[in-house]
């Protein structure tokens, strides 16, 4: 059973990412805060008897469900589902983008101290955040759960309610879409 301190530490460690992830999805800070608070309370009330190690996956699942509930309440679920499936641009599955090249470019621009101008750095981070926000919802969710929340493929599939193959596809497409978008914005070597 997780103690109060373990629960508090866990919520503290996850709250900002949870807020950001939800804000990406609902595009409304107040609604995102409500959803995160609701998810925290659901976790605390219903799963307080679970060990601390189980909290991350449970919380991600609760947060995803709470976000979906919000969309249902907003009666825009059809529009969301439409958005989920609309991403099928011609550049999705091609090998035209050299991810390694992009990776080097990003690391060169942001990841090292050579990017000394903090204003410029903040602008780049903002640009990346904007591009992530513009990803199709399922791709963004898969990308954030895999690389930000650091869940493995099976855990991500469990949270998203889809197959592991779908998770890999969503993640791959998200990475390529981000690489393409960032390159288009000039964030390239």
């Amino acid at each position: 059973m997780a103690t109060d301190k373990e629960l508090s530490d866990f919520l503290k460690s996850v709250e900002k990412r949870a807020f950001k992830r939800t804000a990406f999805a609902v595009r409304d800070d107040d609604a995102a805060l409500d959803i995160v608070q609701d998810s925290m309370i659901r976790l605390a009330e219903k799963y307080v008897d679970r060990p601390a190690a189980e909290l991350p996956l449970l919380f991600q699942r609760i947060l995803s469900n709470a976000t979906m509930d919000w969309f249902r309440r907003q009666k825009v679920r059809n529009a969301v589902v439409h958005n989920f499936s609309e991403f099928s641009g011609p550049g999705d599955e091609d090998g035209e983008f050299d991810i390694l090249e992009m990776l080097d470019g990003i690391e060169g621009n942001v990841g090292t101290e050579s990017a000394s101008d903090s204003v410029s750095r903040d602008q780049i981070l903002q640009l990346i955040e904007q591009q992530v926000a513009e990803l199709p919802a399922r791709q963004r969710e898969a990308f954030l759960l895999r690389y930000w929340e650091e869940l493995d493929v099976a855990e991500t599939a469990s949270v998203m309610g889809c197959s592991e193959g779908s998770v890999k596809t969503h993640c791959s497409r998200a990475v390529h879409a981000l690489a393409k978008a960032l390159k288009a914005k000039g964030l390239a070597p």
Binding site: K16, F19, Q37, K46, V48, L103, Q126, C171
Partner: protein, 149 residues
Amino acid sequence: MTNNTNSTYSSVRDRDGLEARFGVRVASMLGERAQSTAPDISERLRFAREQALVRAQAARRQEQAATAPVVVSRGRTAALANPLGWWFKLGSAAPLALLVLGLAGIAHVHDKAQIAAVAEVDAALLSDDLPPAAYTDPGFAEYLKTHQE
């Protein structure tokens, strides 16, 4: 053919690895930006966390209350009761089961004693010189009655 398969497999793995590196790098930058959340949002998140902890404590208390013994009082008497405890139910049922078994045992012993007494009478009758049919004779019955008096 094998070389082609191996090289394809290797290139897929390389590509997966690069995608993962890219993803982790972008995510770390997102994390960096997420840490610089506006103060009002940080404050609301702190409030949400505290609310959740209060609820967790309430849920724990409720759970403990549900499993702990409850004092049930009526009038001048008071008793401990635990509606969910299996041991309590078992403890309540055991004396009743012992009582039923005891009564059944007493009835069994009583029946055997009765059977033994009847068998003893039968044996005495059968081993007597007088035939049992004599006891059905009204004259003999009258004779016995007179002699007892």
